[in-house]
Symmetry: D3
Subunit: 206 residues, 6 copies
């Protein structure tokens, strides 16, 4: 008994186009055990195994080395709601202030002593929480909040992060603020400093 | 050590078909900053900008004019959980009783004075909430509840809606009930009126 | 090393108040096997059992009888994402056009032959889908869409509904539109009929 | 004013690939009335109707017969958050201990008397809840918990399940534990029995 | 037939404590039309109405004025998934670079001409998107990404924001990075500038 | 203009009771930076720090030792969507076949060589995936699927689990199936073995 006008047909085509549009997006609930491999061949055990952390080349310098184990590098995670990362901190290095826009992080110290900091969004003055972490300690950085780590020791520190998203994302604040050529008037007014200070902050970014 | 029978292979193909099936659907969490454009070219700033509200042709008459800014008309919204609409009410016009099946609405009055109504689902007698809104007032219409507006003034009223979904949908009740040729027996029994009243209600719908 | 001003303390109290505020709401993911009983006594098997459908008194007349098995009548469902209802249709009765604002429904015919209708949101003219269901048939009414049933047979029909929410809600359209004293100007303009027709539609509602 | 390096372009291609990757997954919120049919032709009422439960061939024996009405067998359910199943229990048959990894189940007895059991995750000793269900009774099996049914009567029992997912999945424990050739050392240590008992348990699985 | 040991009872009490613990949190699906008022009195229409934007005192200076309409200032929004804000920009003022950790924003220009900027998370060099917005234009700032606005005109600019969360939160970057006394070694290494520049950036924050 | 009957008032009280009912449940989206401590005192850095993994007493024997870092033992995780666990495997020990009803697990080997197994839900014959993991390897156990580990080496193995839920739960299969006194008829029919084998399996459980 269903009736449809020609108009409805064209409306339907519009809906179908919308379906195609909205097909890309997601950290949804699974409706299968796991997403099949991209080649649609039956998976074997290696599909569930990540072995690229066995031999990590550590780049010396003042920045922490991060190896992401997320849905991009490890596709089986698609739709499963969790990701990881290995962090190696050379002596004296920092993991610069940053946020993860799509996930909470727990950081577990594998080796060494690490200083961490987290800033909440209390208004008008945010609150800084800092802690010294020892081997086997865990610290929580809730979703979207600014945080950082620094290795003030003489030894390499290693830590392992767990995230509540398969692709938590990374907003690196020094580069995002001073490495993309934001209008200097925005920056001088926002940071309330002179343009030569903004210029110095920007000069060191790539 | 993983082993699979031929049977498992065919089962797997079934799962893969399911994957294709389930690809269309969603207002899910993002796992990227934003969904890329349909042409997969790198986006520029215009991808994030909606300019079609600059010059709205207002159609006079007894119905409000609605321009939707949702995932269909503004694809960058895909997966981002919010949409908008501009509403222009000629003097004496109504926005007929309707629901949005997939989202809550907040309505902000840009210009003029507007009467609004909302009906909840209290049983057995629902409750009507009505209000007169002035410029800069906001009223909330929770997801799925029947609501309407009327401009009882002599001036054009303009308002701007925000939704909790990228595609909240619209169930226009006069047309849905009386414009699709529902079996008159259903309508006379449901509305408890004679068939000639149902016929009159139906005659004016397209 | 964490420091906080007195200001932060008062801001914190505000957050705590917010916590209390936001405590009520939800069809969320479980973080336990099930929500404990309201009396916090350990549950026994009867906590998981609903027996009130054994002897349903059927009220004759022109309307279907509905018994809800949702989180209000069966609290163990809290947080579990599913609810049910038993529907009994005397001969000639209707389940009036309505929506469920918070859930999709599947309707399973237990006994008899039932006519069902569903209207989508295609614009500008919605599409009506109608079907005759026989014993053991299932029909789907997606979330928020208008639907109805009518028993055109001489026999009692029984059906069992499943919902995708623990409390899908009910917007009964005859009563919501014509039983709550909406401003007649809104209704005459919206339904494009004279005020005496609106008066007749309203007179029969409680 | 937006600027992009060639590097950004290649990064973008990577994001686009990710989009394709993540397209398959989901029990997400709808952004449409319903997912269109796979052939993208306008749907008619049969798209919303499931008629395959009309004539179920019951296979006699010691196991319950299950017919799933989920997103695989009834694609309109895609994105709608609910599924069903019909269960027919020959006299003396069991529905073996199992879990549904992706959904809560409510079980409604259509005909006969059924014994059910549910085990929670209390530590260190889980709790068993058992119940005798009569016609029209409902029992809840929360997501992921082990449960079973047995028909101890001389008559066929029929029941109808509702799930909070469009594809709740099934982990059949006898077959999963003893039918896939798990290393016997794992099983003897886990179940704390001798290898000949494990061998007997495994011998009867396909 | 259910049996429980004393041990299970104490385990149950632990679960009940967990229930209390987890009661605070949420932007969940509603299971009611709307959350009742905190005083649990039946709501009236004013419960759904926000009138505090009628007369906004604008504070002159170099920063935008923001009035939030979120679940804290407008409790009816609890569980409804949307919030708003009114922004007034004196001539020459900025809305400093910031993120919203819990929601996407669409910004609608009510009056005047506004420059906006958005930075994504492309690696290793993020991409800046900038745009000049005119009256009635909308720009999208996806969840968690850094963005800012500046009024380069001689006139007051007004804009209205919509968010995909009832409490999107605010990470103000100048204050978060330089106003909470982060260890200067972290900041000099992260921003790769001398400690006197960090000192100047910090000196101007409260 | 809102009007309410006395009936509506009592209906409202019912809704308020429902609000209280539904307050306990959840792994929802946050609407704050983090849930405040149970004592509602402003948190300090120790609120975000878990130090109980520093000195784990390992109990020798044939079972793995598990220390959970979830919302019960570490309340700051409430609403943040992630949890962890430390696993220590004495030589020859197993982590018995089990499921996590509410979360996916990634397992990272900290020290030693570990055999793991995962069984999917392919029908009619599930598929077993097994793997030998070395230090720094990660394996994924998707939500709700049966999995196990065994340390076949002569050395202690240590591993660290990440979960996609703040309280993933644990269904230990030997104890759930054979330690709660399930009706032997259910077990003999389900596992298709004689009652003396079921008796032996049950005798060793507490």
């Amino acid at each position: 008994m269903a009736s449809r006008s020609a108009l409805a047909v064209s409306t339907f085509l519009c809906l179908a186009a919308l379906a195609a549009l909205s097909a890309h997006a997601a950290d949804p609930e699974e409706i299968r055990d796991f997403a099949p491999p991209a080649d649609y061949a039956p998976p074997n055990a290696s599909y569930f195994t990540f072995t690229e952390l066995r031999n990590i080349d550590v780049k010396q310098g003042q920045f922490a080395n991060v190896t992401n184990v997320n849905v991009v590098s490890f596709p089986v995670l698609s739709g499963l709601g969790v990701a990881n990362a290995l962090l190696v901190y050379p002596p004296g290095s920092v993991n610069v202030p940053h946020t993860h826009p799509r996930g909470t992080e727990t950081l577990f110290v594998l080796e060494g002593t690490l200083e961490v900091g987290l800033i909440d969004t209390t208004l008008p003055v945010p609150v800084l929480f800092t802690q010294t972490l020892y081997k086997n300690d865990i610290f929580v950085f809730p979703r979207g909040l600014v945080h950082f780590q620094i290795n003030k020791s003489k030894y390499v520190v290693r830590a392992y992060a767990s995230f509540s998203s398969t692709n938590p994302g990374l907003v690196s604040l020094p580069r995002t603020l001073f490495g993309v050529h934001i209008d200097p008037e925005v920056l001088t007014k926002s940071f309330e400093v002179s343009s030569d200070i903004i210029a110095k902050l920007s000069a060191v970014q790539p």
